[in-house]
Symmetry: D2
Subunit: 406 residues, 4 copies
C-alpha cells in the first residue's frame, strides 16, 4: 500500500476542517496521541488503513482567509489547541492552505457564509460540477494520489423535499443543465462530482449530499462508495446510547427534551429557521425507532455567541417506572464541537479509502455508528451499529469479498 490518498474537505476553512488540518499535521509529526480516533482502537487497527503519512489534505472553500489565522482564532476563542502545537504545525498549514480552491455556491440558503465570493455562483449546476471535478483532478495529479475521499463539511443547507427529487439518475442528471430545473443544492453538486469521478464521498453534514435514490444509483453506476449523513458527535450520540437502555429496562420514556446551545459558524447558520429545520430533523428522528413508540420529544438548537465552538446540551428525560412512578434523568454535555468531529472525519476518510481500495460500492451501511441519519441503515442504536462495524471488520479479516451495493 504505497500510494497516497487525498482528503478533500468541502468547507476547508471551517472550524471542523481547520481542526482536521491541524490534527492531521500533528499526527504526521507524532505530536499528539491518538485519543478520539476510532480507527486507532484495537478493533479497527487490524484493517490495512492508510497511515498518517499517506494522507494529503486539500479542499474547497467559499470564504477568504487562511488556515493559520483560522487556527489561531479557534485557539484563542475556544481555548482549543496549545500555542506550542500551532507553532509546530504552521508550515504545514500554509501548505494545506495552498491546496484550497474557491468553492461553488448553488441555492445555499439565506445563511450562506458572509464574505463569500459572489463570482462563485455558477451558470448551471453542470458547470459547477465540472469545475469541482477539474479541481479534484488537479489535486490528484499534483499530489500523485491513488484516490481522493471527498468529505462534505460545509454549513447546513435548507432541507430539500424528497418529493421534488426524481428517483432515477437519468432524470436527475437532466435537471443539472439549467439553474431553474434543478432543486439540488451545493452539497449534492459536490457529491455528484466526487461520484462521477468514482471517488468515495463522505457526507458529514445534515445537508442532502448524496442521500437520495438517484444519486445512490449514480454511485453504483460508477462503482463508487459513499456514506453519511450528519456526524454523530454529542447529544445524539448520547441519545442513541441512553434510549436503548430505557428500552432494555422497559422504562417508558414519557418525554425527552434536548436543548443545544452553541456559538460557532454552524450555530449561526442554524439560527436561520430553514437551515435549522434540516438539523433538527437529523437529531430527532432516531428516538421513536429506538423505543418502539413515540414519546413527546423536543429538540432545540440556539446560537449563543459566547460559547464559540463549545456546544452545550441539556437533556431532560422524563420516564415512567414500575407502578407508574415518574422519574428523571438529566444530562449536560459540554463538548468542543470541532475536537469531537475532526477525528471522526479522519476515521471516515481512512475507512472510505479502505473501502474504495477493496472495490466496495454503494452506501457503506456499516459506518452507521458515525452518523445521525445513516445512509441505508435502519438501526439507530449505537452499540448495535458498532456490532455491524465489528462484523464487517471480522469479514474483511476473514477474507470476505467486497460488499457491493444493490
Amino acid at each position: 500500500m504505497a500510494d497516497k490518498t487525498g482528503i478533500w474537505l468541502v468547507g476547508a476553512r471551517g472550524a471542523v476542517a481547520t481542526t482536521v488540518a491541524v490534527g492531521m499535521t500533528a499526527l504526521q509529526k507524532r505530536a499528539v496521541d491518538r485519543v478520539g480516533l476510532v480507527t486507532e482502537l484495537p478493533m479497527l487497527r487490524e484493517l490495512p488503513l492508510a497511515s498518517w503519512d499517506q494522507l494529503v489534505v486539500g479542499g474547497h472553500e467559499l470564504r477568504r482567509g487562511n488556515l493559520v489565522d483560522g487556527a489561531a482564532a479557534l485557539a484563542r476563542d475556544n481555548r482549543l489547541f496549545t500555542p506550542e502545537l500551532l507553532a509546530a504545525c504552521r508550515e504545514e498549514l500554509v501548505e494545506i492552505d495552498s491546496r484550497i480552491r474557491p468553492g461553488i455556491h448553488f441555492r445555499g440558503g439565506d445563511a450562506a457564509p458572509a464574505g463569500q465570493d459572489a463570482t462563485r455562483r455558477v451558470e448551471s449546476p453542470r458547470v459547477g460540477i465540472e469545475r469541482i471535478k477539474n479541481d479534484l483532478l488537479d489535486f490528484r495529479q499534483a499530489n500523485n494520489l491513488g484516490r481522493v475521499v471527498v468529505v462534505l463539511l460545509a454549513s447546513t443547507e435548507p432541507e430539500t423535499p424528497r418529493a421534488a427529487l426524481p428517483d432515477r439518475w437519468g432524470d436527475l442528471r437532466l435537471t443539472l443543465e439549467t439553474n431553474a430545473a434543478c432543486v439540488l443544492r451545493s452539497s449534492s453538486l459536490y457529491a455528484i462530482a466526487a461520484l462521477e469521478l468514482g471517488h468515495p464521498l463522505i457526507n458529514f453534514t445534515p445537508s442532502l449530499g448524496s442521500d437520495c435514490t438517484a444519486i445512490g444509483e449514480l454511485a453504483l453506476e460508477r462503482g463508487a462508495c459513499h456514506a453519511g449523513r450528519d456526524g454523530k458527535t454529542g447529544e445524539t450520540l448520547l441519545k442513541t446510547v441512553l434510549a436503548p437502555m430505557f428500552a432494555a429496562r422497559n422504562l417508558e420514556v414519557m418525554s425527552w427534551v434536548g436543548h443545544n446551545i452553541l456559538g460557532n459558524a454552524d450555530g449561526r447558520v442554524l439560527d436561520h429557521p430553514e437551515h435549522k429545520q434540516a438539523k433538527l430533523q437529523s437529531k430527532d428522528s432516531a428516538l421513536s425507532k429506538m423505543l418502539g413508540y413515540d414519546p413527546q420529544s423536543l429538540v432545540s438548537i440556539e446560537y449563543i455567541k459566547s460559547l464559540g465552538d463549545w456546544k452545550t446540551a441539556w437533556d431532560h428525560v422524563h420516564f415512567k417506572g414500575f407502578l407508574g412512578t415518574p422519574m428523571t434523568l438529566q444530562f449536560t454535555w459540554q463538548g468542543c464541537d470541532s475536537a469531537l468531529a475532526a477525528p471522526l472525519v479522519i476515521d471516515l476518510a481512512r475507512l472510505a479509502d479502505h473501502a474504495a481500495r477493496r472495490g466496495e460500492t454503494g452506501a457503506l451501511t456499516y459506518l452507521a455508528s458515525f452518523f445521525k441519519r445513516p445512509y441505508g441503515a435502519n438501526n439507530e442504536d449505537f452499540f448495535s451499529q458498532l456490532g455491524t462495524l465489528a462484523e464487517y471488520v471480522r469479514g474483511v479479516l476473514e477474507g470476505d469479498p467486497p460488499r457491493t451495493g444493490s
Copy 2:
C-alpha cells in the same frame, strides 16, 4: 406448567420487598401495566415463565411492623403508589404479611436494623440455617409450591474478606458449627439454607450471600442455581452504558466522580463506614474493566433523610478528546429506588424459577445485566451483558440442553 412457585424475600418488610408485594398483587389484579418489567419485553416473553397467578410471596424479616402500614408510609413519604392502588391491594398485603417469619441475625454489623428481636440471634450458624430451612419447608408445604426462589433483600452487611473464607464447601461447612469459627454473616446463612434445599437463590444485595467458591460448590452439589450480586438499578446502570460509549469513541476518561444521596433505610445503613465500604466496592469495580485503563474515580453514598426512597446521583465525567481537549459530561439521576428494584426482583425470580425448572445449576451468568457485581461473569458492559441474555434465550428456544455450572 400448572404448579406454583414461591418468592421468599429475605428482608420482607423493607422498601423493595414491600414494593414487590404491592406490585405482585397489582399485577395479579391487572391493576397496573408492565412498565419496568424486563421479562415482559418481547425478547423474554417467548420463554415459558411463571404467570403472575403462579407466584406466591412470603419471607423473613427482623423488624416488627406490617406490610399495610409500611406500604402506606412509603406512599406518604415518597409519593409512591396511589391511594387507590393501596386500597385495592390491602387484603392481599395482609395475607402476604401472614407468611412473613422472623428472620435470623448473625454478625450483621453495627447498622443492623433497630427494633429487631434480640432473640433472633442464633446459638450457632448451623442452628440458624436449620431454622431458615424449616420456614422454607413450611412455606412450600402450606402453599403447595413446586419450588421456592429465595431472594436476598436485607440491608447491606460489612464486607467479608475473601481471604478468610475456605475454598471448599466441606471446610466451610465445618465452621458453621460454632459462632466463633464462622466468618460468614446472615446473608450467607440464608443462601446456604436455600441451596441446601436445592432452591434457587438470588442475591440482590451487596452482601456476600453465595458469592464465594465454597458456597458455589454447594450449589453444584445440590443441583441448585444462583445469581447475584447487588441489583443494578441506577447510577451503575448508567455507568455501564456510558463508559462503553467513551471507550467506543476512544475518548479518554480522566476522572469519573459519582455522588449518590438517598434517605431510605438502605441509605441509613450505608452511613456506617463498614457497611458503606461493601457498597462502594460494588459501584466502582466496573469502570476500569470497561475502559481498559484506570481513571481517577470517586464514588460516594450519603444518607440525606429528606430524600426518602428517591436516590439522586450526580456524576461528573471529565474526558479528553482529540488534541487533548478536555470536555465534560454530567448527569443527574433522580430515581425511586424501590420502584426501580422491585420489578427486577420479580424478573429475577421468574428467570431463576425457569432455570430451576430446566435443571440449570450453578451461577446463572447470563443474568449479569441485572447486577453490579455479576456472579461468574467478567463482562461489565450493559449491552454486551444483554447480548449474553439474548443468546441464552435463543438457545432455550432452539432446544439447547440446560446449562450446568462447572
Copy 3:
C-alpha cells in the same frame, strides 16, 4: 378588625386557584403549617393582617367542572396534596365551588380554554364589566364582606401593544362601549370592574390587567389600590437573585439561557405563539436592568405534557471573570408551579386587603418582590425589592400615614 374579606379568584378552577382553595381551607383547619407564606415571616407578622378565618374565597371561571374533582386530578397527576388532606377539605371545597360564577370572555386569544361556555362572550366590554360587578356585589352581600380583593389568575392573554391604548381613563372608558372600539382583553375588564367598585386588584398573570396609565388613573379616581404583574415564583426569582450577585462581583455575564418546560394548562396556553410572547417578555426584561448592560439572553417556555404542574427550568449562565476567563453556572429548578404560586396569592390578598383598610391608593410598589414585572417599580433586584417591603412595614408600624398614589 372584625369584618371579613373576600378573595375573588378570576380563573377559579385553574391549578393555582384550586391550590389556593385547598390551602386556605387547610390553613383555616390548622391542618398544614405555614411554609411558603411570606406573610407568616417575622417581618410581616407584625402587620394587622386578616386571619385565615376572616377570608372567604369565591371567583369567576369559564370552564365547567368542580373544585373537588380538580383537586383530586391535581393530586393524582402531580403527586400534590395528600389524600388525607383532600378528604378533610372536601366539604369546604364544595362550598367554595358554590361561590364560583361563570366568567366572561373577551378577545382572549387563540388559546382560550376549551370547554368554555360560548354564551359568555359579551355584547360589549361595558356589558361584561357590569356583569362582573354584579357578581362581585352579590359575593360581598351574600357573605357579608367588608371588601373583596380581586386576583387575576386566568390564562395568559396575547400581549396588547401599549401604543394602542389611550393614556387617559376618560378616553379608554369610551372605547368600552363597543367591541370594535376596544383593544383591551378580559383581564382588563375584570380589573376595571374591581377598581370601579373601589376593590383592590392583584394581577398575578402576565396579561395586561390594570397595567396601563389609563386604568391606573381609574384606580386613583376611585381610591382603589392595585399591584401586579406576573407572580415571580421560580426561574425569574432565581434570576433576580443571581444577576445582582454577578453584578456585585463585577463578573460579566456574556450570555444567559433559560429553558422552561411544564405541562399544566398554563404551559398549554403558552404553546400558542402570541400568548407565549407575553410571557417571555415578562421573564426577560429584568436582566439588563440588573446588570447595567445587555448580555445575549434567551428564554424559552415549552409545553411538555408529562411534567404536569412540575415546572422545570434549566439555566446556563456563561460569564467572564478576571483576565477574561470564561466560567459557567448552571441550575435546574424543579418546582410545583401551583404550590409555589398559591401561597403568594394568599399573601398578596392579605397585603392588598391591609392596604385597602389603611386607605392606600394606586400602585402598591412595595409589593415588587412578588412580581416579574412590578407595577410602578423600577427595581428588579429581589433583595432590594425586599428592602422596600421592609421599609414599608417599618413605616406602618411607626404610624406613617397611608401611601396614596400620584
Copy 4:
C-alpha cells in the same frame, strides 16, 4: 496620595498569588479590562484607593520554582491566561519573583507542600516572626513603600482548637518563645509579624491567621487593621445568596448537599483529613444562621486531579413548599479558582491600604462580603453584607471619622 503600597503575598508562588502577579502586571499595562474587580464598581470607585501603579508585589514562599514557569504551567493546565498576555508580562514577573523570600514553616500539618526547604523550620515561633519582620522591613525599604498589606494565601492548615488559645495577647506572646509551648501555626506567625509592624493583614485562607481574641488585641494595641477569613469565591458565595432567598420566601430547606471537586494544590492539601476539616467548617457554618434553623447539610471537597484549577461544585437543595410539597434546586458551578480569587485579593489589598491610611484599626467588619467566615461579623447574607460595605463607603464620603476597633 503619592506614596506606594506593597502587597506581600504569603504563598507567593501558589496559583492565586501567581494570578495576582500576572493580573497586577496586566492592569498596570492596561492589557486587560477590570472585570472581576469589585473595587472598580461604581460604588467603590468613589473611594481614594491606590492606583495600579502605586502597588508593588512581593511575598514569602516555601516552594522553589519561579513565577514565569508557574504562570506558564497554570496557562497550559487550566487554559488560563493567553500566551500573548504571558509574553507581555514576562519581564515584570521576573521582577516580582526577585522580591519573593523563603517563608517559614511551623506546625503546618501533614500536607505542607512538597519540595519545601527543610531549613525553613524555625527554632522558635518568635525567631520565625522576627525573620518575617525583617523581610517585610527590607521590602518596604527597598521599594520605598508607605505601607505593606500582608495577604495570607498559603495552603490550608489543620484547625487549631480555640480552647487551646490564651485570650490575652500578653499570655499568647509568652508561648511564642518555645516551639513546645506554642499551639499557633505558620499563618498566625505571619499575622503577628504584620500586626506588630502595624501593617494591615488580610487572611484569605481558612487557616487561623489573626482570627483569635489575643491577636485581635495585638492589632488594636499596634493600631493595625485586619480582615478575613477564607475568601468567598464560589459555592459559598452562591449559598449566601440563595439561602436568604429561601428564607425570604418561607420555603423550608430540608437538606443542602454540596459536593466540590477540584485539582489544584489547594485540593491536594484538602485531601488530608485534618486540613479538610478546617475548610469544611468554613463552608458549612453559614447555613443555619441564614435560615434560622438547622437543615441536614453536607459539604464535601475532593481532589480530582484532572480538573486542575477548575473547581466544580454540585449543590442539591431539597426544600419544602406550601402544603408540604417537596421541590428541588440543583446548581453546578464551574469556576476557575485562581481567576475568582485573585481580583478579590487585589480588592482587599486596596481596601485595607485605604483603611490603614485613614487610621482604621481592628477587624474591618465591613469587608464581610469577601469572606466565608468574616472576622467580627455575624451576618452571613451576601447582600446584607454588601449593604454594610455600601454604608461604610457612604460614611467615608460624608466625612465620618475612621472606625477603630474596640
